[in-house]
């Protein structure tokens, strides 16, 4: 047995060094008095939904850079710089709460999440710590969530207008098949689609969920096509799922309209199928390199300039969330400048009294009926079709009006999936 001393020095030093190094590497938790206003991007930066989270974080950074260059945020006569803090919630509830805790320690004034799975754990915490938070999922709203708003996207509200649009462009189509991944995103969206199809006299011939771990989509599509649908709705299938689903639809000979929330990987879809195959597919997110974007996205200052800056700072990573999160920030900024404060209670009260203008135009607070609180900032929303391999805006849907007309269908379908506020476990 070798001398204890030498064994001590050799291996022990390694471990001690390691622990010391890691302790030193931990972030500073001391809160300095800071004129900067911090906003938090609590998004999935790893995992499947990083495709939404990372562009969202990038978009926020670009927005912050542009806002600071234009003079920052004006509160009570003082200009403040804005700083983005990011935390990887990985779309897991517990990690998101960890991120929320980190944000509280760093005095973040406004937090952005995607919504759905990552909000469920945060609600209590955000109430307790007065964290003003924005979500993209209107179904997160409920009377207990005191500091939650849905200021840009009210997924899945636009699907009603989507079904209406399908009826308009395909008056003779009767049958439709639906699928989505089996998680909260998928369930919420499908519930609304079902209501939409009910309302516009479509017959749902196949309606199924697939497991998140699916890698081979051939069986899923075979099953979908067994009912011989004339249109297929892929709902809010995550981008990589949607790509493979579209490819399978093509291979298995489906000819008809395809509907999907975002069509994020459209260029790849065109490559794997063809521009003709994708022609006419219906989706809900415009592209920012469309020259007409300025006319529809009236609430977003200088969209073309934003797009150019983004492509410069983060080339090749543009996605729908790249502008959605900045739009959330824009709403917040307007509210802060109107209210002259970033403190949650006063800011929130001011926001509700003076609804800031939304990305796509004037808006009003909505949602009491379905969610128990009017915390959704609702305006019109674009309906977009694929033309020559790119998306073009073909209509603007009035989400609130559609809902008012078809309320019963929606509530019925929501109850089925246990999504109404009183059903939440």
């Amino acid at each position: 047995m070798s001398s204890p001393i030498s064994r001590f020095t050799r291996r022990q030093t390694l471990i001690v060094a390691g622990i010391t190094a890691s302790t030193l590497a931990m972030p500073n938790i001391v809160r300095a008095a800071d004129p900067k206003l911090r906003v938090g991007a609590l998004l999935p930066l790893t995992g499947d939904l990083a495709l939404w989270g990372v562009p969202g974080k990038n978009g926020a950074e670009v927005w912050a850079a542009r806002t600071n260059k234009a003079g920052g945020i004006m509160v009570n006569g003082t200009r403040h710089e804005v700083e983005v803090v990011a935390f990887d919630g990985a779309y897991i509830a517990e990690k998101t709460v960890q991120g929320a805790r980190a944000f509280v320690d760093q005095d973040v004034k406004y937090t952005m999440v995607i919504g759905g799975d990552d909000w469920s754990a945060m609600q209590d915490f955000s109430n307790r710590n007065k964290m003003l938070t924005s979500t993209l999922y209107v179904t997160d709203l409920n009377p207990e969530a005191k500091y939650l708003i849905a200021p840009v996207e009210v997924h899945p509200l636009y699907f009603g207008c989507g079904a209406e649009h399908l009826r308009k462009v395909e008056p003779n189509v009767k049958s439709v098949a639906l699928c989505a991944q089996d998680d909260l995103t998928g369930r919420v969206a499908l519930a609304y689609w079902r209501a939409g199809f009910d309302a516009h006299n479509f017959e749902i011939v196949k309606d199924e969920y697939f497991d998140l771990a699916t890698t081979d989509f051939a069986p899923v599509v075979s099953s979908l096509l067994a009912g011989k649908p004339e249109a297929v709705c892929l709902d809010t299938a995550y981008p990589s799922f949607a790509l493979l689903l579209v490819e399978q639809l093509y291979i298995q000979g489906f000819k008809g309209r395809i509907l999907h929330a975002g069509l994020e990987l459209l260029p790849d879809m065109v490559r794997r199928t063809s521009a003709e195959y994708m022609e006419g597919s219906i989706t809900f997110f415009p592209r920012f390199d469309d020259p007409a974007i300025g006319t529809s996205a009236v609430g977003f200052p200088d969209s073309a300039g934003f797009y150019a800056d983004y492509e410069m700072m983060y080339p090749g990573s543009w996605n729908n969330t790249s502008w959605e999160f900045p739009a959330c920030l824009e709403v917040w900024k307007r509210a802060v400048e109107t209210a002259n404060t970033a403190e949650p209670d006063e800011l929130f009260a001011s926001m509700k009294a003076n609804p800031p203008s939304h990305m796509f135009g004037t808006a009003h607070w909505w949602g009491e009926d379905l969610f128990g609180s009017n915390n959704a900032l609702v305006s019109s929303w674009p309906i977009v079709e694929v033309r020559n391999g790119k998306v073009d805006i073909v209509a603007m849907g009035d989400q609130a009006a559609w809902y008012a007309d078809h309320r019963d269908a929606v509530i019925k379908r929501f109850r089925e999936e246990q999504l109404m506020p009183d059903q939440k476990r």
Binding site: V54, D182, D211, D216, S240, Q252, D268
Partner: protein, 288 residues
């Protein structure tokens, strides 16, 4: 009826893919008693290399396939020499080390290709064979044929060549084999290379069909372990038969019912096999 035929075709392809991955794992488990949790990541590396060579470098699919096999085989050799060799006496430690390799490979893939991009591999066999109402994508047929050829080749290798006999001797009784003059070290490296190369080939075959992402090996490894247990640990023939049975079952259940239900059922089957038939389908009859 249409759905039944489609499902049968899908089941055949799923069986081929599962079998390809599982025989590599069965081989290494039978020979070296190593539970290689990183096997799914070798499959993933195969897919990535195929993508890189065929798409990024612009060469076509088959050079990509060849490179995938070569690189994963090298990785396998490296794992044996640098890692497994030192931990012969410590099976649980070996398992942990393979988990370490798993994490390193996944992270390397994330760093290399990005976590939020979808990498596309174009198949050299685009298009679809249409027979009546059947739509059989050429590439999936290719996978089935290639899998069958590989399995026949492996069986021939193990039964008709000196190398194959040496491998089986080591699997049966390492000490006796070394007394007979067989170099355990050499056989271990070659077996590991073979196992890894098979995984890499599977990844290359599947790359045009599935999502190429850093985590694509995860579901694969679970299925592989289920299949190996069903087939009988160490038995290649068992693994093949179990792959076909399991994949067919799984494909039918997930098409007609639900993929989560299919997974639960699959796990219950594995549990059932462990309780009632712990030696699997092939029992003690065959070891590699």
């Amino acid at each position: 009826m249409q759905m039944l035929i489609d499902t049968l075709v899908n089941a055949a392809m799923a069986s081929a893919a599962t079998a390809l991955v599982s025989i590599g794992l069965a081989l290494i488990f039978g020979v070296m008693r190593i539970e290689n949790f990183a096997h799914g990541e070798l499959y993933m590396v195969g897919a990535y290399v195929t993508w890189y060579v065929s798409s990024a470098l612009g060469l076509t699919y088959f050079p990509g396939l060849v490179c995938a096999v070569l690189i994963t085989a090298l990785l396998g050799a490296l794992m044996e020499v640098a890692l497994f060799r030192r931990l012969r006496s410590n099976p649980v430690g070996c398992l942990i080390i393979t988990v370490g390799v798993l994490l390193v490979l996944q992270t390397a893939a994330v760093w290399f290709g990005g976590v939020n991009s979808t990498l596309l591999v174009d198949t050299p066999f685009p298009g679809v064979l249409r027979i009546g109402t059947l739509a059989l994508p050429w590439h999936r047929l290719f996978v089935i044929v290639a899998a069958i050829i590989l399995m026949l080749a492996l069986t021939w290798l193990l039964r008709r060549t000196a190398f194959g006999w040496a491998v089986r001797a080591v699997a049966q009784d390492a000490e006796a084999a070394s007394l007979q003059g067989i170099s355990i070290g050499r056989i271990s490296i070659l077996a590991m290379m073979l196992s890894a190369g098979l995984a890499g080939a599977a990844g290359a075959f599947m790359a045009p069909i599935v999502r190429v992402n850093p985590f694509m090996g995860q579901p694969v490894i679970i299925t592989a372990f289920i299949v190996i247990i069903m087939g009988g640990i160490g038995s290649i023939e068992g693994a093949i038969i179990a792959s076909v049975l399991y994949s067919t079952f799984f494909t039918f259940v997930s098409t007609y019912l639900d993929s989560t239900v299919a997974t639960i059922a699959g796990l219950c089957i594995m549990l059932g096999v462990l309780i009632f038939m712990p030696n699997g389908l092939m029992g003690k009859a065959e070891k590699v």
